[in-house]
Symmetry: C2
Subunit: 601 residues, 2 copies
């Protein structure tokens, strides 16, 4: 059984029915494009992914990168995939035409990236990080830095990384200790060790541009003393040619459970005096800059998690349609033919849950990307500002919800296959192992819980939350015109009300009892996610109901829309109600974990 | 950081405070034993496991068994572990003294097995299956079969397997097609293919005794035409010496995500005319006999899942106590020292959830074992019967709940470690991969959901459910005498009431709408599990409260009991309330998955 990459009908639905991507063509930046260009871009991504990424997904897992103490070895298919992606222009497609880009909208790139993720999440890790690193230089680098580093990064000769984590701090960025010593020529010498750096070394590109967080000598402690540096593996001469090897050494590789073909490295900076590096922007503003890359990466991680969930869903769905086993409980005749397992109610439950998680997560990530696009190219300053505020509010969920439920989907895909799901002869166990990374990197679930409750819902007098309420109201109003959706309106309306009540209750106590109010922030994150996702599903249901109004709708489309309606119903009737106990727990400021003592464990 | 096997204080609590194992000494079968003998047995198991099982847990994972087409290769530590376990008498310790056993109670054996599982779940798979196979022959075999096969199985010269599954049926045992052709000498010739047979081949023992389900030529279709056979890898001469190689061939190994050092095999029976086999008991009663082994195995699978959850809990707990990172949200001073992550509320939540799952699951499995013991050796026929009925009712939960929540515990252990949790340099990711098998084998979650709702709650006029209600009432009464437990009584009482209401509602519709009534049986299983586990936790809390009454209680014991109370509180306040939405869903006969159409996906 070969693996289909995503579902092109669903992607079309998300881009053109849910999100109205075609309306972007009215914006000056995209006026020379067309829906055909968007679709041709997606087709190219799909073809490249099928041919050059999916081909070595299992092979890269079974033959992970290794380091012999001198050289790093990665299966050669990885470089071929990288080159194909770069050559097709995907590393620079979102840049303006006068920057040698294709001036394509962000959402077309994200959807393309979804295809690469679907083919091979690990091999697509390299371009994912490189695009983020280049964007960071593009936003905050000097003219010289841009001129020197961006062309080779866009062409795929250089790759990029984000070098934040150190052995003694993971989530606590405030405590990084890597230092940067100023040199007479304006450059810096970096010393310190970074860990879990994805793509921190490889044999794919001729150079690697590390975006490194470090403290300039004498900088204040905490987050306000962190600066951002460009620190290349090989120095680059003014004419763009490679200079000498910089003082950055691969100390070793880490051996992950999944996601194996992306190297995870320990890097030593400055073992021989210091790694030459170049300050990006102003001193001590590094974390602020890095947040651009992190926010981008957070949508990217959410998308990757969604797509892994999606691939497991597709595989288990096809398996369930073809695998005969057992009979309905009401059929006691052992001589009757077995039915395909998709006829069993519990298998349908597992498939429907996967559908609601995977398609829902993909919809969420593309919706977030549309907000990102709007924050940059919407017609009015007010629209841009609103999109920014709403995206800023939901980014913790865009990262965390797909990570949690994409993994859950993969767990269910294994269960649908049964014993076959547990063996490496089938692909679903790899999706599960790959996806387990996503609730960890780019901020653990707990970090995002604290971020949304302690910062995001408060910012700008809760402007984001107000916008979210307005957006849901608009959808409820749309839904009310469809008879099929009538019973779904009240639960979503109640859900938002619950979210508002819980938020007010928690915030009301925050100043006085900060630690207790934040103790259950992870539960708050999940509650908010459930409410947000019931809305994302209701929005899809409205589009499906609209599609079904068309009396000449094709049979395949009719089935597709019916599936969207049933998945919405599943999400709202099966998943949303869990906010009941969650809200109780939050509103009573439950202190059971909070008061648990270390000695009692 | 070395890995501690289980927690001996907790095991002592479970055996002697929760379950009163010492009372077994009053039964004639155990009158020559003592608590010291029980403890010495456990100490031996712990020592053997530390020395011979835990030593190659990671190695067996990294160097899984392989088959070169002729020979099978398994790391040699596996045989050394097997021999050590056999030599210490653990393969026969539960047999009567006049059968060369140690006449030890089942619970001492299970607790010993928990130590072997904790050291190495995969290597302990071989004895686990062998003991079950021998028990089957012991219960249903002829005197000759017993004489021929049991001595070498008890001594560890022969191992055993259960050969049920075939490529075209996993859960649907009714459809097995392996055939058995009667021979003139009273033996049979078996032909067919079996798949996912654990330990189906290995180089550890000189012979392997397969317990095979097959259909005698002309047998009826369905479960009522299945017979049970002994089919050894090598035939055994009447004097016990090995005869010729039987017609059972290893077709290949399957490559699992975890649990790797247990071989998972495809076996071809009868490629050259038929594999010689010996009927156990009467024809067509094979499934009925096999249920003994399956029910034993179900407790064993639950125990293994519990123990894997336990090991991840212990490791992540120790890690959290030693790993400094970050500060409390209320502390904004970057110059202050970092705290150990156990001080973070969300880490405590993750540890407390693991504790409630892992310790709860271990308590459940040992409780189930005590029921098994009572069903055989309790003083009166009535007591034996009641124990049997209650065990029969809860066996689906004893298998499924630890499998589901032990895995969930391992997921949380990874999350506590963060990036370190995801790499093979730390042990928790292996526990997670190992444990993912448990919701699949010995009956998937769905199978057990249907089993409990469609059969177990109905049997003997719901005698099991009535006994369960009585048992809970007794605990509620005990709990009411402790001030500390006052607020926990009503939620558990309400939980049982909810379970009863849901059960009555579903059963009331079963005859008329069988398929719909069973459609959400997996949710019913989880709801029942939550109610049962809140009771298991309340029972533990009563024992802890009793322990705390002792005014001269040691500080370490006081902390231990406080931990039990807090974990009970966590389970009842955080986990039990989810039965609310579950009961709503079940009682409205939710039909969203049931009505989902294959074409709509």
């Amino acid at each position: 059984m070969s693996t289909t990459l995503l579902n092109s009908r669903d992607l079309e639905f998300l881009l053109y029915e849910l999100l109205d991507t075609e309306a972007l063509l009215n914006r000056p930046r995209y006026q020379d494009h067309s829906r055909e260009v968007f679709n041709a871009t997606l087709d190219t991504a799909k073809t490249i992914s099928e041919r050059y990424f999916a081909n070595h997904n299992a092979k890269g897992d079974a033959n992970e990168p290794h380091f012999d103490g001198k050289d790093i070895h990665i299966i050669p298919e990885t470089k071929i995939a990288w080159d194909a992606l770069a050559e097709a222009g995907f590393l620079s497609a979102h840049y303006d035409a006068d920057e040698d880009g294709l001036q394509l909208p962000e959402i077309v790139l994200r959807a393309s990236m979804a295809y690469f993720n679907a083919g091979n999440i690990a091999s697509s890790g390299y371009p994912f990080l490189s695009i983020g690193a280049a964007n960071l230089i593009h936003s905050f680098g000097s003219a010289e830095q841009k001129a020197l580093f961006l062309p080779p990064m866009r062409e795929g000769r250089f790759a990029g990384t984000m070098a934040l984590t150190e052995p003694n701090q993971g989530s606590a960025l405030a405590d990084i200790t890597t230092t940067a010593k100023p040199c007479a020529d304006g450059s810096y010498l970096i010393s310190g060790q970074k860990m879990y750096i994805s793509g921190g070394d490889q044999n794919i590109t001729e150079n690697i541009v590390h975006m490194v967080l470090a403290r300039i000598d004498g900088a204040p402690m905490g987050t306000k003393g962190i600066s951002l540096f460009i620190c290349p593996k090989f120095l680059v001469n003014p004419d763009g040619s490679l200079g000498e090897r910089n003082d950055v050494a691969l100390a070793g590789l880490l051996h992950k459970m999944g996601y194996r073909n992306t190297t995870s490295t320990v890097l030593n900076f400055g073992e021989n005096g210091g790694a030459k590096a170049f300050l990006v922007g102003e001193p001590h503003k590094g974390l602020q800059y890095m947040f651009q890359m992190m926010n981008e990466a957070r949508i990217g991680v959410g998308l990757g998690a969604a797509v892994l969930g999606y691939q497991g869903y597709i595989y288990s769905l096809n398996y369930a349609k073809e695998r005969p086993q057992g009979r309905l409980p009401s059929n006691k005749d052992p001589k009757s033919a077995q039915i395909n397992i998709i006829e069993h109610a519990d298998v349908r439950r597992m498939l429907l849950a996967q559908k609601s998680y995977a398609e829902g997560a993909l919809a969420l990530c593309l919706y977030a990307t549309s907000l990102y696009e709007d924050s940059r190219t919407a017609d009015t300053e007010n629209q841009r500002q609103q999109a920014f505020l709403l995206l800023d509010l939901i980014t913790p969920i865009v990262k965390s919800w797909p990570s949690k439920y994409g993994l859950k989907a993969n767990e269910l895909a294994i269960q649908v296959l049964g014993g076959a799901g547990y063996i490496r002869e089938y692909p679903v166990e790899q999706y599960y192992r790959d996806n387990r990374l996503n609730p960890i990197h780019e901020g653990t679930e707990a970090i995002h819980g604290i971020d949304i409750l302690c910062r995001k819902v408060l910012l700008n007098n809760s402007a984001g939350l107000i916008l979210f309420n307005e957006a849901v109201s608009a959808t409820l109003s749309d839904a009310s015109t469809y008879q099929d959706l009538k019973d779904l309106i009240q639960p979503v309306a109640d859900g938002v009300q619950t979210l508002n009540t819980v938020t007010t209750t928690l915030l009301g106590n925050m100043a006085e009892h900060t630690d207790l109010s934040l103790a259950n922030a992870t539960i708050y994150l999940d509650l908010f996610g459930r409410v947000l996702m019931s809305w994302i599903w209701l929005k899809q249901a409205v589009c499906a109901a609209r599609g079904l109004e068309n009396t000449s709708v094709h049979e395949a489309d009719k089935n597709f829309y019916m599936g969207k309606l049933q998945a919405t119903r599943f999400y709202i009737q099966w998943e949303l109600p869990e906010i009941g106990p969650q809200a109780d727990l939050l509103c009573r400021f439950d202190d059971v974990p909070f008061k648990m003592q270390a000695d009692w464990f």
